[in-house]
Every structure is written in structure tokens, then in C-alpha cells.
């Protein structure tokens, strides 16, 4: 279960094949560090062989750029289209992770995505859970894909 590798591969695959944006992965953030400066997030629960929450966190400009590329239109504010697009990306990322972990005999089921937006928020996970956060860079800035998990 190398989550850094799984997240990096899954995210690259989805952005290359579905969204058509070039992204550059960076090494995982140091343990305990969280994504900063993000104003739009989408998250989705996974459960089964482990219990997890997968999230994608973006500054507004990055959320707008990614959604614009996905929908083929220009967007000016974080609206329902942006939340839906990021929710769909979270769903696709969770699906990719589920598929990769099934090859390690870890079966997972997905919940439905939730969007969190706002000027000021932090998302925390329970004590004792593990967290892996990978930053990705596009021309408008950085976004973060994060998994928090506990073994069942």
C-alpha cells in the first residue's frame, strides 16, 4: 500500500486522460503537514478493507482552471459547476484507488462526494489515522490530493 505512488499515478492518469491538463507531481508533504491556502475541496469516503477519506484541495484559481478544462468553458467564480467538477474528480480518483488496491486484495466501496468551499476552513482526521498529501502543480498554481486512512 504505497499511497504516495498510488495517488500520483491515479491523479496523473485522470488529468492526462480525462481533463487534458499537464500536471507535475511533487514529493508527499512531510508528516503532519496539511494543504494550505485552499478555498475549494471535494472529498469522498471509502470503506471496506480500510476506512478512508480521499480529498482534492485547490485554491480558487486552480479549481476554476481545472473545471474550465474539464467542461471546455471559462469560469469566473467558484459555483455549482466547480463543486460538481471537483466532486467528479474526487470520485474518479477514489475509483482509481479502489481499482489499484483491489489488485492488493483490499476491497473498497465508495460513498458520494462532498464539496467544501469557503474563505477559511481546515479539514481534520481522527487521531491515529494516517495521512498522505501529494502536491501537484499546473500553470495556475498548486493543488493537493490527500488520503487519510485507518486500517479496519
Amino acid at each position: 500500500m504505497d499511497f504516495a505512488k498510488i495517488i500520483t499515478e491515479t491523479t496523473e492518469e485522470i488529468f492526462n486522460c480525462m481533463i487534458f491538463i499537464d500536471i507535475a507531481a511533487s514529493p508527499p508533504l512531510a508528516a503532519g503537514k496539511q494543504a494550505m491556502g485552499c478555498h475549494v475541496s471535494a472529498m469522498i469516503g471509502l470503506t471496506g478493507g480500510l476506512s478512508a477519506m480521499l480529498g482534492i484541495h485547490c485554491p480558487s484559481a486552480v479549481g476554476l482552471a481545472v473545471t474550465g478544462a474539464m467542461l471546455g468553458m471559462e469560469l469566473e467564480e467558484v459555483d455549482a459547476d466547480v463543486k460538481d467538477a471537483l466532486g467528479e474528480i474526487a470520485n474518479m480518483l477514489a475509483g482509481g484507488i479502489k481499482e489499484r488496491l483491489s489488485t492488493e486484495n483490499i476491497a473498497l466501496e465508495l460513498a458520494i462526494p462532498t464539496a467544501v468551499t469557503g474563505q477559511s476552513y481546515v479539514i481534520s482526521a481522527p487521531k491515529g489515522s494516517q495521512r498522505v498529501v501529494i502536491p501537484f502543480t499546473i500553470s495556475q498554481g498548486q493543488f493537493f490530493v490527500e488520503i487519510k486512512y485507518q486500517l479496519n
Binding site: G45, G48, D84, V122, P126, Q150
Partner: protein, 153 residues
Amino acid sequence: MEHAQEIINSTQEIFSSMIMLDVTPGEPFIRNNDKLINSISGIVGLAGATKGMLAIHMTNAAALAVTTAFLGMDVEEIDDDVRDAIGELANMLAGSIKSILDPSGSDIKLSMPSAIYGEDYSVDCLAGAEAVTVPFAFDGLGFVVELQLRKDS
């Protein structure tokens, strides 16, 4: 509204048995992704044949009062203890509602709880789920419990 009564039963039971607080339900409503100000939300994903999300949204003042009662110790700011308590509360509520909606235990599985907190944020559920929210009051403070469900055909 569908499932409002299950939310009320589960919430009253958990609060009276685990937190020793009597909470009074108000009129169920559809939460319109309203902004949450100086608040904390505990959310748990529901996966399986029935998918969804259970969330509890509280003002910081309500979260401090609930955590103080829950842990039996004074808490004065939104720290790790409060975040864990509100996440755990969402987890207990989701477990209780699951046991009512899915008595065989095969249809709904809970994912890991998360806490979201901040000065200004909103939490939307996506993917066309049906939602119902019930407000509760105690000691002049309030919170809401929101359930979103989507049954896959």
C-alpha cells in the same frame, strides 16, 4: 420529510446516553448549502448499495459545550479534542441511523469521520442525493444534523 424521524430518534438517543444532554428537535428542513460561520462539522460517508453522508454542523459555542459534556472536562477552544469529539459524534450518529435504515447491516458501510472547521465555509453534498436536515436545541445553543442518501438501483 423522509428519515427526519430516524434522525430525531438517533440524535436524542446518542445525546441522552453518551453526552447526558437532552436535545429538543425543531422542524426538519432542506439545508440550502448555507454558509457556516465560526463552526465545526463532523461528517461521515456512507458507502454500499445506499450511499450518502451524515453530517452534524455546530457553532463553535455549541461544539465546546457538547465536547465538555462528552469528555467530562472543560474545553475552551476548538482543539484536537473537540475535532475528535465532533467527528466521533458524527460516527455514532451515522452508526445509529445505519442500524435503523439497514437492520441487516449489509447495505450501508461507514467510512472514516472527518471534522471540518473554520470561520467561513460551506459543505455541499453532490451527486443528486436526497437530503433532510433537523435542527436541535439545548441550553440556548443549537446544531443541525443532516442526512443525504442516494440508493443505487
